[in-house]
């Protein structure tokens, strides 16, 4: 893939729930290898945007392309075959499974054994296949430093650990594009630092393109290559972290200042195409 081709192209996406316009004509693209953040106040439509990319929501308008292939119509389970993985804002682990099994579910689309060959285990190569993937899953477990809880039932873990297991499960999908919805929400300072380090490693060493939603501005500005700001379902800015920090519209959206109406031409300042 060339340097300049976008891995993910989002074009003019609109999504509404009854009267609520969650997204209004949002466009952006993410280049291969990028760490891209989406920020914005509560209810701005950030999660809705991720849901459109991962296939949980189907936008009424617009198109999403992954590696230049339109994916807007695909079901969520078909998108992970293409190389899209994600974590959820509200924890979505399989609570009664062990941590290990949770992460092994991430290998689902890479495994070939089925009801019959899985049931016959020793005679069909299912055992060998499971073992191979188990080894790769253990690498992920080591990387995310959750080896000590691998046998624990996921539902019994602390919030911070569950977030980490969820990341492990998404990494197990071997995605090229990983979507992280508030990976650090509700974590203490130390846990946040760890998480930030994992995300940088995933991006730089594992070669994953990252789209991240995060409220902690310090983290966003430190980690991101580019940032997009949503407010009331609209893109109000996109650009380099520094540009975003200086953008008056962004300041206003965050601080809720009530001065003059936003002038139309200032929308999209600092766009780096």
């Amino acid at each position: 893939m060339g340097e300049n081709t976008a891995l993910l192209q989002v074009e003019n996406i609109s999504l509404s729930f009854g009267g609520v316009k969650a997204l209004q004509g949002v466009s952006f693209d993410v280049k291969s290898g990028e760490l891209f953040s989406i920020i914005g106040p509560n209810g701005a439509g950030k999660t809705s945007m991720l849901n459109c990319i991962s296939g949980r929501y189907h936008p009424q308008q617009g198109e999403i392309r992954f590696r230049e292939q339109p994916i807007t119509k695909l079901k969520p389970n078909q998108r992970c075959n293409l190389g899209i993985g994600r974590t959820f804002q509200n924890l979505a682990l399989f609570n009664h499974m062990s941590v290990l099994d949770n992460i092994m579910v991430g290998r689902h689309h890479l495994l070939k054994n089925n009801f019959l060959t899985g049931g016959l285990y020793w005679f069909t190569g299912a055992r060998r296949e499971e073992l191979e993937h188990r080894q790769q899953v253990e690498e992920i477990i080591d990387f995310l430093e959750i080896a000590h809880i691998r046998k624990a039932q996921a539902g019994t873990l602390s919030y911070g650990l569950r977030k980490r297991v969820e990341l492990a499960r998404a990494v197990a999908l071997k995605p090229d594009l990983i979507l992280l919805d508030e990976p650090m929400a509700g974590m203490n300072h130390e846990e946040k630092e760890d998480m930030a380090r994992y995300i940088i490693d995933l991006n730089e060493e594992w070669g994953m393109t990252v789209v991240m939603i995060e409220h902690d501005m310090g983290v966003v500005m430190d980690l991101s290559h580019r940032v997009m700001v949503l407010d009331f379902g609209q893109r109000i800015a996109a650009g380099l972290p520094d540009e975003i920090m200086d953008n008056p519209l962004v300041k206003k959206a965050y601080l809720g200042e009530e001065d003059e109406q936003p002038s139309e031409e200032s929308a999209g300042v600092g766009e780096v195409a």
Partner: protein, 354 residues
């Protein structure tokens, strides 16, 4: 989600992942299980016909209940029509043997496959609907199949029922409790091992994932419709094999036995044994097979004092089943499997139980 919990003795460190992926948590439990099965091989030599009969019942009901546990306990769907599949398997096996001349040896697994097709058909709505609506749909399938049993003379013999030949192998007829015990034992070991493997491999995990969080299961690449429908198909396969074993044991299959009551009894087995527990299924089946015996035995005990009791035996049995379900739901909602785990934990930590 394998048979063992993570309770292993300290000092037992795993150095290979393979040793961590076994069905049984420790080699000791594996040896115990194998020893138990070997011990079972000797039961026909010493057991009375009464005991053998009960154990054979536990066998074929247990296989069917395991199928129900796959759909209810592992996939988190509801099925109120399981006994119809059990009956379908019994008729199908008899029909394959009587009408097509297929030996019983092959008719049993083939009947399982035919029942699986019926299950897939019933499972199609399950790909779309959930909860109460699915309950009603499966209930409807129960009645439709019951009606089919009564009308499809070519398949079931209609109201007069169907004869089912004995199981034979190389000319040897398994026509006694002693010999048939081995046939049932073979299938029990086969189906339970198969299930244990399934649950620790890809598609078994997918079923549990669908149960625990279907939205994130879908994001993990799991095709929800496929697994919801397949779990019905697989559960019907188990019911079909259980039913076929039942038919060739009794030698006669009649439609009256496969009613909603039996479906509820299957549900009771897995609720009492433990939803989503493989060995709990066997515990629950043992409980449900022995419960009526226990009731009979205790009414016999009291009948000297209260002669009326014997006449109301049938009611007492049914009430006891209902009562057992309710008591378990209140006091041990996670079933006998959970209780057993706690007992094991208690002995492991004894005398430091707190």
């Amino acid at each position: 989600m394998s048979l063992g919990s993570s309770m292993r003795p300290c000092g037992d460190f795993r150095t290979k992942y393979a040793s961590d992926m076994t069905i049984f948590a420790t080699p000791v439990t594996r040896y115990l299980a194998v020893a138990f099965i070997i011990a079972l091989l000797f039961v026909p030599l010493v057991g009375s016909p009464y005991v053998l009969n009960l154990m054979i019942q536990i066998g074929y009901y247990g296989i069917a209940a395991l199928g129900l546990n796959l759909v209810v306990g592992f996939t988190g769907q509801i099925s109120l029509g399981h006994s119809a599949f059990f009956g379908f398997g019994a008729f199908a096996s008899a029909w394959l043997n009587n009408s097509l001349g297929i030996p019983v040896f092959f008719a049993i697994p083939l009947a399982g496959c035919l029942t699986m097709l019926a299950g897939l058909l019933v499972g199609i709505p399950a790909g779309r609907i959930k909860g109460l609506y699915l309950a009603i749909a499966t209930l409807a399938s129960q009645f439709i199949l019951e009606d089919f049993f009564a009308r499809a003379n070519w398949f079931t013999g209609g109201s007069s029922g169907a004869m089912a030949e004995y199981f034979t192998l190389f000319g040897y007829a398994f026509d006694t409790d002693q010999s048939y015990f081995y046939v049932v034992l073979f299938y029990v070991v086969l189906m339970f091992t198969f299930t244990s493997n399934l649950i620790r491999s890809r598609d078994g995990r997918a079923l549990i994932a669908v149960r625990d969080h279907y939205l994130s299961a879908e994001i993990m690449g799991i095709n929800l419709t496929w697994y919801r429908v397949m779990s019905f198909g697989i559960s019907a396969l188990y019911a079909g094999i259980g039913g076929a074993l039942f038919g060739h044991y009794l030698g006669f299959v009649s439609a009256e036995g496969f009613t909603i009551i039996l479906s509820i009894q299957f549900l009771a087995m897995i609720i009492i044994g433990g939803l989503g527990s493989i060995y709990g299924t066997i515990l629950g089946t043992i409980f449900m097979v022995l419960l009526p015996e226990l009731m009979e035995w205790s009414t016999g005990l009291f009948s000297g004092m209260m002669p009326d009791l014997v006449q109301s035996l049938a009611y007492i049995k049914e009430m006891a089943i209902g009562l057992a379900i309710i008591l378990f739901l209140i006091f041990e909602p996670e079933g006998l499997a959970h209780r057993w785990k706690r007992i094991k934990a208690y002995w492991k930590l004894y005398p430091f139980s707190y």
